[in-house]
Amino acid sequence: MTMTQEPAALIGKDLSDDLAAASLALARKFHAGATLWVVSPQWEPHAHHVAVEFVHPVIMGKRALPSVALVDPDPVAQARVATRPGDVIIAVASAADPRVVDLMRRAPAWGAQTIWIGFGARPAAGSADHVLWVESDDPMVPATGRFVLMYHLLWELTHVCFEHPGLLTMADDGGRDCTDEVCVTCSDEGRLGEVVMAPESEVSPALVRTATGEEAVDVTLVGPVEPGDLLLVHAGAALTRLDDVTGAAS
């Protein structure tokens, strides 16, 4: 073990900028009434730690904020029913965790912002509103306190933002990078929707959940749909179906 070296920086410049942006966005969402949902399918204790951090602050006088760890075997199903428009979902998970990949791509249809904490290979650009990533491939990272530091800082900075009320009410357009011509968050081409109920007949609409609630959507352009299918919705009609595996437009 090397004992004499200067400790390496745990939070670099880019990550500190990401933390700052995520904290302000989270504070704004809390200010507007959000609940913070936390998932960590691989490392469940981290989900509980994030939740208790916000619910029961270690510093006297700080606000208790609504945050709940979702630790059911199926985090997507649990988050789907828990989440209301305006909420925030934090995942502490590797970029390869298929449950979290699925959760993150569906969140915009539920009207939820997303923060993704992890290490190793980064998630694809645009996978979450805020990506807080430990730049290390060491598989032991989740047990060394790096994630604990990350969400401690997120909590500390979020509470700093509460001391700036003038900055809490501004609109927040999220942080997803637009890499595709069809950007689901920017809504140029359509809004993301998740099928709740398939059409009762070939001529009837499907019931679709979007960031603004449930609506009837004409799905004749995209063909038969099943509950859970992701669609791009524009002017009451589904324009295209999103591929189930990659999230890319089909």
Binding site: A20, L24, A143
Partner: protein, 234 residues
């Protein structure tokens, strides 16, 4: 003469509701994040250096106990209970190395609420120590104050039953640091609960690493003895 009612908001740019440009706040937040991370890194390094010898000694004793069939119980309250769970997972489901039996005594909500309701919160862990433990086992308690009554009671019970007892504390160490019932106490010298917990995680990881090294050393010796004694039946 200056107007006594002049606007003095410029002296306090952050305390009122008319602030609209987030850029300077974002710069402050980012700078604060880096500063706190640096404090955490230094504290972790200082804690590792202070306790390296004791961590090696504790890890060697733990490896010996695991080799004799010992089990590890970890426990804490709040965030520290989750850090205790992460530590238990590190021992029983490591990404690399040998898995050994370990679990968090806060993990079972039925047990914790039954004990909390029926016999009192201060006994939620000690009653489980009574139920589960044998003298070859080990107990690790994490408390940023070092004073949590439920942890102290459990460590005392564990010591009475012959377990190896290890405490991770903070601030000035509290009751944990002066108790005769704690074989090894690792006090992280900080007043910040967050920074203490981050160092607890790093020290716990180091302790696990020592146990892995010791276990590997034992395994290597065992296999070498087996090779020199091909008729031996192990």
């Amino acid at each position: 003469m200056t107007d006594l009612n002049q606007n003095t908001d410029f002296l306090y740019p952050f305390i009122e509701g008319t602030e609209h440009d987030p850029d300077s706040l974002l710069l402050d937040l980012a700078s604060s994040a880096r500063g706190k991370a640096e404090v955490s890194a230094r504290l972790q390094q200082a804690s590792l250096e202070e306790y390296e010898d004791r961590l090696r000694a504790a890890g060697a004793e733990m490896a010996d106990r695991f080799a004799r069939g010992g089990r590890l119980y970890t426990f804490g309250n709040g965030g520290s209970s989750t850090d205790a769970a992460t530590l238990a997972s590190l021992f029983c489901r490591p990404v690399r190395g040998r898995a050994v039996p370990a679990w968090s005594l806060a993990a079972d909500q039925a047990v914790v609420t039954a004990l909390g309701n029926d016999v009192g919160f201060e006994l939620i862990f000690s009653r489980q120590v009574i139920a589960h433990s044998r003298p070859v086992d080990m107990a690790i308690a994490l408390s940023t104050s070092g004073n949590s009554e439920d942890l102290i009671r459990a460590l005392t019970e564990a010591r009475r039953r012959g377990l190896l007892t290890i405490g991770f504390a903070g601030h000035e160490g509290g009751a944990m640091s002066t108790s005769d019932d704690v074989d090894y106490c690792f006090t992280v010298h900080s007043q910040s609960i967050h920074r203490i917990q981050e160092s607890h995680a790093r020290l716990g990881y180091r302790l696990w690493s020592v146990v892995q090294e010791e276990t590997q050393r034992r395994t290597t010796a065992l296999l070498a003895a087996g090779r020199s004694d091909p008729g031996g039946n192990r």
